[in-house]
Symmetry: C2
Subunit: 155 residues, 2 copies
DNA sequence: TCGCTAGTGAGACTGAGTATCACCATATGT
DNA sequence: ACATATGGTGATACTCAGTCTCACTAGCGA
């Protein structure tokens, strides 16, 4: 357990910094999130942590999202996906097919959005830019399926 | 009834063009939507049309959204709002306080998004830009509340 | 160590949206 | 105008994500 100490410590530190108690369930959730690469749903976390209550999983995710540790993206149908927020402001490439969420950044886009924001009546709190895409993987899969069905039709 | 003929005719025309049957419930929903100014939830339409079944309201809204007659925006919590799509591509100003949705357009933004889209791996299907704001009305209300609570504290 | 209280988990609840299915009304052919 | 095939409807059951409740637990400061 000594080897994993550093991750645990960082998780504990983070929870401390948020001004909340460092409990085992929160540690479990935070550690699992820290190990995630892409975007994930709250429900998937819930399923991966059968020892932690549903309510606690949702509470912890909300806590971390509100604290800016997690970043929330909305699929076209409105269902939320979370990912570790690397603190650089970014936007999302959402695959309409497999629902994976990738990040992208553009300084030029930010500058323009900032300019546009200045012209908007009222107070701008933030913005969100999503590109809906078919990711390369899904395109490849589609191509394979089409080729196969064409072969079926032809044969 | 002659005076309202033109709106009815346009609604009937539109339903015809969508290649579906022109039924009374669809007419009712479409006419109510046509009379709406801002963005609305499916549930609000359901409440305003007690004579039309819930399922039919949701079905009709989905039908019109898929046909491009309605435009769908997502609030920060992921709940959808619909508005008449005036067919010019546009984006949204979403008030985090009162949840009203306004449209905005920017040719410059579109050009940049198009450029960025060209560099994205895979196939870009579309994009969405939302500004989260406190609208002028809500800012004014907040100001009034703050002034009031300050007065309370002071008095 | 003790005790306060924030946090937890089981499960009830909620609200939005979908599926089912018997029945109905519209479009169409004659 | 009438018959009729079938797409559409509404009541309602269902699903699913997320929240609330509340008795119980455990973290943390004294």
């Amino acid at each position: 357990m000594i080897a994993s100490g550093s991750v645990d410590d960082r998780v504990d530190d983070m929870l401390h910094r948020l001004g909340c108690r460092v409990t085992q369930p929160r540690r479990d959730v935070a550690r699992l999130l820290a190990s995630k690469r892409g975007a994930f749903s709250a429900e998937s976390i819930n399923e991966e942590l059968p020892g932690v209550g549903r309510a606690t999983v949702y509470r912890t995710i909300r806590l971390l999202a509100e604290a800016g540790v997690l970043c929330k993206a909305l699929l076209p149908d409105g269902s939320p996906r979370y990912s570790i927020d690397h603190s650089w402001h970014h936007h999302h490439l959402i695959c309409s097919s497999c629902e994976t969420v990738e990040e992208f950044r553009s300084a030029e886009l930010e500058r323009l959005l900032c300019e546009l924001g200045a012209e908007i009546p009222g107070q701008v709190l933030g913005h969100q830019v999503d590109f809906y895409v078919n990711c390369p993987d899904c395109l490849q899969d589609d191509g394979a399926h089409e080729a196969r069905s064409t072969a079926d039709n032809g044969g």
